[in-house]
């Protein structure tokens, strides 16, 4: 799923400093699961904004709404009535959300209340990690189903580099496992270490962001 985390309150307050009425719009998709932009977080952010603005002597009216999803135009539609009355929307969906909201309301100011951090998942309570960079051409089958593009700081396809020590990456001050150690261990378990003796050559990055904006088309579903 898409992982996100709240922007600092001060940054959001600065975005809306010129406004009197706003909507905070959440999303019931990924950001609800990672506890960053669901109904609960909408209520918390709305309260924080109201309190902070009240304390500063310039009250802010904040409407709350959480869309079923913000990455689907039909679920943005329910905002129509709410936004008619306000100066701006702060979306706390992943960064897809504010762009969908902006697309629907050409004359409305829209701001992101979250930083979208990665495509990943939870590894323990309160901890989410990155697992995919959406390179558009998945190669993890060659690496024991572990992704060196995302999880190696140097994106090595012929790792591990000389900075792998005691199972840890030299980047991150001991907080990041060396994915190449994990790939090595896993292929060893599977009896497939010979796979790591093959020289991996150039990756085709044209399916990644490098090839320009990506559009996925399923002809059979198109109307």
């Amino acid at each position: 799923m898409v992982i996100g985390e709240s922007k600092p309150l001060a940054e959001i307050l600065d975005m809306v400093k010129d406004f009197k009425k706003i909507v905070v719009a959440g999303c019931k998709g990924c950001v609800t699961v990672c506890c960053a932009g669901g109904e609960k977080e909408v209520a918390i952010l709305a309260s924080e904004l109201r309190i902070a603005r009240k304390a500063s002597g310039r009250e802010l009216e904040v409407q709350e709404y959480t869309c079923e999803r913000q990455c689907d135009p039909e679920y943005i539609e329910p905002l129509d009535d709410l936004v008619a009355e306000v100066d701006a929307v702060v979306s706390i969906a992943c960064s897809v959300g504010p762009q969908y909201v902006a697309a629907r309301y050409p004359y409305l100011r829209v701001f992101p209340g979250l930083n979208t951090t990665s495509i990943g998942g939870a590894t323990e309570h309160g901890v989410w990690k990155e697992f995919c960079q959406a390179c558009g051409s998945c190669i993890i089958g060659d690496f024991g189903a572990l992704c060196p593009i995302t999880r190696c700081a140097k994106q090595l396809l012929n790792g591990p580099c000389g900075g792998s020590s005691g199972g840890l990456c030299e980047v991150g001050k001991g907080s990041i496992p060396c994915i190449w150690q994990l790939i090595y261990d896993r292929l060893k378990n599977l009896g497939e270490l010979h796979k790591l003796t093959e020289v991996q050559l150039y990756k085709n990055w044209s399916t990644s962001r490098d090839g320009g904006l990506r559009t996925t088309i399923r002809e059979e579903l198109k109307q």
Binding site: K154, N158, G162, S165
Partner: protein, 314 residues
């Protein structure tokens, strides 16, 4: 290995003549001060066979390795130009390989490079379109097949002697030689190792390299960095990932009076050089005297490696 030269560099010729080669290292400054660079490099002339020029090492901006390599050529010193894949994509890298060859640079060390989080621009974007293994393969393909990565024909093949680095002390230990083998399979002709302090582990590394037949296919140079002070030894031990400095060296440096520490460090380096040269499969020494270039002549002499062979590059 045939006597035919891939690049005809002095370094390649010395290796192929069966003599032990010696390389040094000289890092360009963090500015455009060419005179400072020439001064440091001047200590290495005629004392080593070729001098590595680092490419923004530790991800700190310095003047570029191609310019510094050309300065060395003008001084009559053969360069080993280092190139990292951190800062350029395949377009930039291939362009620099061609440009380097056009300037007369004949030795190239293909590296991935230190991560930018260690350098002076930690907010930089890294590239990593390729890694060091792919870069070596690229240079080989351009040189031997006259083709770029895209398959486009190269007009005027770059005559380059291809090198790379290996760290025998990183993990997983049993994979380090295998990884070096991948570099060799990709086209690497000479290897310079990371600084060696843990001799026992290096012996194991070389035994495995000999068993796998890699020393028959590639010239392996043992990397030596003299310890200038107790502080430096402690720093290397604690903070440089993949460097393994045994306590015995630190005890030795501590055991001499302060004004004799540098001399003891040099003595240790000379012993290490001699130990390495006695190992089967070691083709030379890569001496990385970091900001201690003026001591290189003394170390090379004490190791019995002077005078250097008189060989002309093509």
């Amino acid at each position: 290995m045939t006597a035919e030269y891939a690049a005809g560099s002095k370094l390649e010729k010395i290796f192929k003549s069966g003599q032990k080669a010696v390389t040094g290292e000289c890092g360009p400054p963090r500015g455009a001060d060419a005179e400072h660079f020439r001064h440091k490099a001047s200590f290495l002339k005629d004392v080593v066979d070729a001098v590595n020029v680092t490419d923004n090492q530790t991800a700190v901006v310095r003047f570029c390795s191609m310019a510094a390599s050309r300065i060395l050529l003008d001084m009559g010193i053969e360069p080993v130009m280092q190139m990292v894949t951190r800062d350029m994509n395949r377009i930039g890298l291939q362009s620099n390989v061609l440009g380097a060859a056009a300037l007369g640079i004949k030795n190239l060390l293909c590296l991935t490079g230190d991560h930018q989080s260690f350098g002076d621009h930690p907010q930089a974007k890294n590239v990593h379109d390729m890694d060091s293994v792919m870069l070596a393969h690229t240079v080989k393909t351009m040189r031997d097949d006259g083709k770029m990565v895209s398959g486009t024909e190269v007009q005027g093949r770059p005559r380059i002697f291809i090198g790379a680095a290996a760290n025998p002390f990183a993990d997983p230990q049993e994979f380090r030689v295998v990884r070096m083998g991948k570099k060799i399979a990709a086209g690497v002709q000479f290897i310079q190792t990371q600084c060696i302090y843990n001799m026992e582990r290096f012996v194991q590394f070389m035994e495995m390299a000999n068993d796998m037949g890699l020393t028959e296919k590639c010239f392996i140079m043992a990397g030596i960095t003299p310890l200038k002070s107790v502080g430096m030894a402690n720093y290397m031990k604690k903070f440089v990932p993949g460097l393994d400095v045994p306590d015995s060296y630190i005890t030795r440096l501590r055991g001499v009076p302060k004004d004799k520490v540098a001399a003891e460090g040099i003595k240790i380096a000379v012993e290490q050089i001699q130990e390495c040269l006695a190992m089967k499969g070691i083709a030379g020494i890569h001496l990385m005297a970091i900001e201690w270039e003026d001591h290189v002549p003394e170390i090379v002499k004490a190791a019995g490696l002077l005078p250097r062979p008189k060989v002309e590059a093509d």
